[in-house]
Symmetry: C2
Subunit: 438 residues, 2 copies
């Protein structure tokens, strides 16, 4: 497995070489094999462990196990505790989502504070198989069948080509110790049910199932990229984008024999579900419309007009000076700190607190908005142009929030900070702002 | 179920109304429900039953059951016997493929001889679920996950929206009799294993699984149509088609970030499998090449040259006058008959035997080939133009055979006959030729 991983890293993840890697480590077999492999390969690694406090002494045992392993192996380690139940209650999300949110924000903080380059997780082929089957069981589109991505920004999953059997084989061969998570044995979660009852049958029906599945994923990812190409080309012919609303040209649209496919592609991320009504709208009386939770698709004479439902996005939310955390309309964590990172990540920025005026405002973009994208040498850019260049989908644009000081944009939240509020060596008051994404 | 079917027929299959329908009827629950439904709806139906002689007295019992049902219900019926084992041996195909080949040719003959319009089969949603899972288990591309098509020429599957449970419910409610096929209970076939062991779990995990699966299929079919659009657009930019060989422009190709997706889309139907070698070929030394069974992809200076491997397709096969059946290079059945159909189907044509010269020749197309497509009022057309207009893929072209009398094309086999050899009211010697497709 070590040689195959080495080859995989050289071919597909060469940028990890000579980088500082943070390994997310629960103490389970997958992450302990990940750590062992990267020790053998001689990469510069640290490990990070979260104690979510969800399984009492078992959780504390996991933590102790990681602390011991790190000290015995001379690996720098980071450990933190979360009150996951309280956070889930406050944020009104499930325990699983709360745990994910908490750990990824913390991982990102660690990367920044300690100058580490990439977070590695131990997701493997069987996780992708299970994700495929979860989405398939619930109903999905092509994107739900393309597996777990190998890379998402600075999060990399180097074990995706390897199945659970290989990982177990490696663990046995190298006498690797790990902690069994008692919740893995339960059938409480859909994932576990599929893992225990469906995947074994599929593997028994085709001895080469794992390799076949890898090929299937590749082919589906390729087909997805082709559908994306078609959507981008057709978008230009069919849609005029006026920022807060769009015109879909009905004549152009209906030239496409499969125009329903394109409507589905564009409109499904906005929460539309009444597909028959939408497909019929092109031939309906002017004035007819279809609503999703947040959007309206209106039949005009020659166009379908797509816009957000009035009142939804027009809110302007204030953040007072000493607020440390917001949950409405989005989760932000604000913290006075005495360090900063020159390079912002997508979800954490550092700003010069002396330059901003409280209360801050959180709002959606409007026609005419501009900012000075961080890292673009002070160039001014329209927000609409920024969205276009970054290939935002229709719904991406409408779902993106701006953090503002007066009329000035501080942050296109979750995407790009403004250069005007950047921290320099001479800044004395630094505000760190983190976006707690769902 | 009857009302839903009625609605489905009106919305999606309106062309069946007032047509003469032939119902493929094994005697099993699915086909007996199909027959009962179309009786209730008052369509003009006949039923066709094949006795494949594979289950001895059980097969004969099925046949007797159908004969009784038809006579008791005053439904015109057709019954035939096949020596499936002998045919499978002769044609060197599996029993299942032999049975499919035999029955579909016979169904097509029935449609023609009796002036019937459509063949209906009883395939339903669970067949699509099983087909999805079979392909998924073995490894597949997007096209393998898009289910059983609703229509294929004159074959229509009106029960695809309905699950097995609904069909069983309808059978119970209406006290419908059917014959149980003992081989359905066995786990000998992959399909049965998935039906008995995987599908029930998926249904238990999501009570609405059937509806979710229907949505998934729709979304995947839509994504497939978008990938097809992208491939057609990019084809024009990247490939020059010289008939027997093609130039893929490497510079144009490599402008596409996902050019591998397009290479896979075009080349996989030709049997290529060495994808890494193919993907690397664009950067390789001129003269390097990759082979599939039948094709070669050669690196030229600025192009990848795709052509059939010399010797594969250049064969010219003779058919002597009194031959009744050929198997090499393709299966053809030749028969002197005393009737004919004006409208050819894809797989059966009627020609004026007095106008053709024996031996006939079977060969692949070559640059400069032309014919007079049947139904085009005597217009002459280049075969290359015909392929283009009919949207033949690269491999479709190379896999298509021509049946010729001297240099004159009688039939683009499986696609279009030539007008010059058509049968008229005055023709005295009629030759019926059927293509026994794999």
């Amino acid at each position: 497995m070590l040689e195959v991983l080495q080859q995989h890293l050289a071919q597909n993840l060469p940028f990890l070489k000579d980088k500082k890697l943070l390994l997310a480590t629960s103490g389970g077999i997958d992450s302990m094999v990940l750590v062992h492999l990267f020790q053998q390969l001689g990469y510069d690694i640290s490990i990070a462990h979260c104690n979510f406090g969800l399984r009492g002494v078992e959780s504390d045992g996991d933590e102790q196990f990681i602390r011991n392993y790190a000290s015995q192996n001379n690996i720098p380690s980071f450990v933190t505790h979360f009150d996951t139940n309280t956070f889930a209650n406050d944020a009104k999300v499930s325990i699983q989502i709360a745990a994910r949110q908490l750990r990824y924000i913390w991982f990102e903080e660690l990367l920044q504070e300690h100058g580490l380059d990439y977070l590695l997780t131990a997701h493997h082929l069987d996780d992708s198989i299970e994700t495929f089957l979860i989405n398939f069981t619930r109903g999905t589109g092509l994107e739900g069948l393309t597996g777990i991505p190998q890379q998402n920004g600075n999060i990399v999953r180097p074990l995706l080509p390897f199945g659970r059997t290989q990982i177990e084989g490696y663990a046995t061969q190298h006498n690797i110790q790990w902690r069994e998570d008692s919740s893995n044995a339960s059938d409480k979660y859909l994932r576990n049910k599929l893992r225990h009852h469906v995947v074994p049958i599929l593997k028994s029906l085709n001895g080469g199932f794992e390799a076949s599945f890898t090929n299937t994923l590749n082919h589906l990812q390729q087909a997805k990229s082709m559908a994306d190409d078609a959507a981008a080309l057709v978008f230009k012919q069919v849609i005029r984008d006026y920022g807060s609303y769009k015109h879909i040209d009905i004549t152009q649209l209906k030239r496409l024999p499969n125009y329903k496919a394109y409507l589905y592609y564009w409109l499904s991320p906005m929460g539309f579900t009444a597909w028959d009504d939408i497909y019929n709208l092109a031939d309906a009386q002017p004035g007819k419309y279809v609503l999703s939770g947040d959007y309206r698709l209106l039949k005009d004479r020659d166009f379908l007009v797509l816009e957000m439902v009035s009142g939804y996005d027009s809110g302007i939310y204030e953040i007072e000076e000493n607020v440390q955390k917001t949950t409405i309309p989005i989760g932000l964590k604000l913290e006075n700190v005495h360090y900063f990172e020159q390079n912002h990540t997508k979800n954490i920025i550092f700003v010069n607190k002396e330059l901003i005026k409280f209360p801050l405002f959180v709002r959606k973009w409007k026609e005419g908005d501009y900012f000075y994208p961080f890292g673009m040498k002070g160039l001014k850019k329209k927000v609409s142009k920024y969205f276009k260049d970054e290939k935002f989908s229709l719904s991406d644009k409408e779902n993106t929030w701006l953090l503002c000081s007066g009329e000035d944009i501080i942050w296109v939240v979750g995407h790009r900070a403004d250069n005007r509020f950047r921290v320099t060596e001479n800044t004395t008051q630094i505000l760190k702002i983190a976006f707690l994404q769902e």
